[in-house]
């Protein structure tokens, strides 16, 4: 069992959890993820590791499906049945020169750890974070502290630049030398944003988030097409060369269980009502 140590709703429906999991926290590197299962009836879901502190690991998630909704309702002191990790290959951290680390939406949560490791490797790091509005600019202070420069954008112009990270990236690419780019966010955002760097031929990494079961290369649920080849995001990724990824296929595969996910959430809410709001056993 893995104890939840701290929880916070950092933006509307977005939650930040610290979980005590020494075997994960002690060995986690930027870019890696964990898989958790809340209880005996739970499914295994992957969450990217957002930070570590001693024996604890931070994850940030939006409560959208059954599992994330159930998780969001948990409190410090309660325990998660299973946590395995760190999984996947770490980010390709080395001295690139000038790096841009871009986060979109909940994906912002995974950028400070990458930015920090890039800084420690001697890179100049420019951060770009974008969200719907000012309220969703997660971990802005943390990114500002870590990066040499941070650009903030919002879709509605409520803070920083009125527009998307892709716009900022485009402008930077035409005015300065950039050696490597990381983009973490929803698949559609990663597709569009990485499209900007393609003509410049600059190494661009994206962190893919397909559906997984075991997370250790055993089932093939997370298969993605990269450079025309089938790769498993859980062991070959989750970071891949953005310009080789088939994003349309990824998005299609992410929707396979759409109906089931809705049913699971309905079942969860019904069950919760029946037993007086105590949640799933």
């Amino acid at each position: 069992m893995y104890r939840i140590e701290k929880t916070a709703e950092t933006a509307d429906n977005i939650f930040e959890f610290w979980i005590h999991a020494p075997h994960v926290a002690r060995h986690a590197r930027a870019g890696q993820f964990l898989v958790l299962r809340i209880d005996e009836h739970g499914e295994r879901i992957p969450l990217t590791i957002s930070a570590t502190d001693g024996d604890s690991v931070r994850v940030v998630f939006m409560a959208v499906g059954k599992t994330t909704t159930q998780l969001a309702a948990m409190s410090p002191g309660e325990s998660i049945r299973d946590v395995v990790g760190p999984l996947g290959r770490p980010s390709e951290i080395r001295k690139w020169g000038t790096c841009v680390v871009i986060g979109g939406g909940v994906g912002i949560a995974c950028t400070p750890i990458i930015a920090r490791e890039l800084k420690e490797a001697g890179n100049t790091v420019i951060g770009i974070i974008g969200a719907r509005n000012a309220g969703f600019l997660l971990l802005e202070d943390e990114m500002r502290e870590t990066c040499d420069e941070l650009v903030v954008c919002t879709d509605d112009g409520s803070k920083g630049f009125h527009g998307f990270p892709a716009d900022i990236l485009k402008e930077r690419l035409s005015t300065q030398t950039i050696d490597a780019i990381w983009i973490i966010g929803p698949a559609i955002m990663m597709k569009i944003t990485s499209g900007v760097s393609r003509p410049f031929g600059i190494k661009t990494f994206v962190s893919l988030n397909p559906i997984m079961v075991d997370g250790t290369g055993m089932c093939g649920s997370c298969r993605v097409t990269v450079g025309g080849e089938t790769r498993f995001a859980c062991v070959d990724g989750p970071e891949f060369d953005a310009h080789e990824v088939d994003f349309d296929e990824l998005m299609q595969r992410q929707r396979i269980y759409g109906d089931s996910e809705r049913r699971a959430l309905e079942h969860y809410h019904e069950h919760q009502c029946r037993c007086g709001g105590e949640g799933h056993e």
Binding site: H23, V24, H27, Q32, R37, H41, G42, E43, R44, K66, T67, R81, D82, V83, V84, G85, P86, L87, V213, D214, T216, G217, M218, C219, G220, S221, R223, T225, T230, V235, E249, Q252, R253, R255, I256, Y257, S260, E261, R263, A264, H267, Y268
Partner: protein, 447 residues
């Protein structure tokens, strides 16, 4: 051994074979000739004293029978169910020449189940040696080696990446063939010998390789968990599964009980399973229990199925439709599967394995309307950990190369089971694990 009727067993995941009654077991045991030079023992990868335990059954001394089994095999209730006895002990039984061989597997199962019901008396454990052994993987090979090393008095730690122990016994083989309480029970017995189990620990990630190499001995039993795909068009469509994924969703995650359990599965109304091995039969029979009409597509003839005959017969009784001498070329649909296009195959000269070489027949394409495709065409060793160990020599197919003692190219590191042989059987993995464990024990005794 009696079986539940097909229409009844399709309604649940309960065990199909009902096993022998006490009377049946004794009568069956009395058929054994008690050969002076028993061929059956030579046919057993873990060298059980088969005539010995059968004689005990014939005398109704089931406790002695159980002790004889357990001396060579810590997983008798599992082996009694899933070993391919017909090509091992029973395949060489002298009685088989003129009539039916002794049902050794059914007798093993009977004794193991009797023992479990009466309470198991664990084998003796040597005093602690102070030596530490790391076992990577808790499948049949890992559990067997853990038992052997623990009995020798070593401090054994088993690392398992999933949230349950058992490896393929847990995620792969369905409950109707191997009930999960049996697997859990046999693993408990091994842990009772003093072995420690760490779930949710992926060695190479949660535990650094250096930490593992600091043990006095290491046994790699990470199995053949990497699923192969055919590489045909349409494999990325929704509803296409590797057998590993399909079986894991049901056996480990209980997707058959969604939404009571959270993991979903595309059940399908018409399912195509590709392959002819035991994993293909398991997948087809699970799909039948989820309510689908099931086609099993195999590129050779029915006689060439690598699956056990009994499992082929079970699948047929349960209504799985075999389409032999056919091979998929394309999966149709988008975003979900709507069909599978196949071609007929013609059998030509035998290949290296002695089986006929299937060759596509031109102009023979046909389409099946299906909404789920399950590929059960084999799996290879998971490369994750083995690629992280410096100096570990691997074969062309990614398997860890071992000598006859189970030793790898790295000192103090041994390997066995599917990670060394490629996908094989539970009992071969156990046989290799016993050999490696003996080598480890001998090495640690000397050092």
């Amino acid at each position: 051994m009696s079986k539940r009727p097909a229409d009844e067993r399709l309604r649940d995941f309960g065990e199909v074979d009902l096993g022998l009654s006490e009377e049946e077991a004794v009568v069956e045991a009395q058929r054994c000739l008690q050969c002076k030079k028993p061929a059956c023992v030579g046919g057993c990868p873990v060298c059980i004293d088969i005539p010995g335990f059968i004689a005990a059954v014939a005398e109704r001394d089931f406790r002695r029978a159980a002790a004889i089994l357990r001396d060579q095999n810590m997983l008798p209730a599992i082996c009694g169910r899933v070993c391919p006895q017909e090509s091992q002990c029973e395949g060489v039984c002298i009685l088989g020449i003129k009539s039916e061989p002794v049902c050794i597997g059914a007798l093993e199962r009977f004794v193991a189940d009797w023992e479990r019901a009466q309470g198991i008396i664990p084998p003796a454990v040597a005093p602690p040696t102070g030596k530490r052994v790391a076992i990577i993987g808790s499948g049949p090979a890992g559990i067997t080696a853990a038992a052997e090393c623990a009995r020798a008095g070593h401090a054994v730690t088993i690392f398992e990446s999933l949230h349950e122990a058992g490896g393929v016994l847990t995620y792969g083989i369905p409950a109707f063939r191997l009930p999960k309480d049996i697997v859990a029970g046999e693993i408990e017995e091994v842990l009772a010998l003093g072995a420690d189990l760490h779930l949710n620990h992926l060695v190479g990630r949660s535990v650094p390789v250096e930490d593992i190499l600091a043990y006095d001995a290491v046994f790699l039993a990470t199995g053949a968990g990497l699923p192969f795909f055919m590489g045909i068009v349409g494999e990325q469509l929704g509803g296409v599964y590797s057998a590993n994924e399909f079986l894991t969703r049901v056996n480990l995650m209980h997707a058959d009980r969604f939404p009571e359990f959270d993991t979903p599965i595309v059940r399908g109304s018409r399912v195509a399973v590709v392959g002819g091995g035991n994993v293909a039969m398991d997948s087809a029979r699970v799909a039948r229990r989820l309510g689908a009409k099931v086609y099993l597509i195999y590129r050779r003839r029915e006689d060439d199925f690598p699956a056990r005959h009994a499992e082929v017969a079970n699948a047929r009784e349960e209504g799985v439709e075999f389409l032999c001498c056919a091979n998929p070329v394309r999966i149709l649909g988008g975003p979900a599967v709507t069909g599978i296009e196949c071609v007929r195959m013609e059998m030509q000269d035998p290949d290296m394995s002695g089986r006929p070489t299937p060759v596509p027949v031109e102009g023979s394409a046909f389409t099946l309307d299906v909404d789920v495709v399950i590929e059960a065409i084999g799996q290879g060793p998971n490369p994750l950990l083995v690629s992280l160990i410096p100096g570990l020599i691997r074969g062309k197919k990614g398997n860890v190369v071992v000598d006859e003692d189970g030793a790898t190219s790295v000192p103090r590191v041994y390997a066995g089971g599917d990670v060394a042989t490629g996908a094989a059987t539970v009992i071969w993995a156990m046989g290799a694990a016993k050999q490696a464990a003996r080598s480890i024990n001998a090495m640690l005794e000397k050092s």
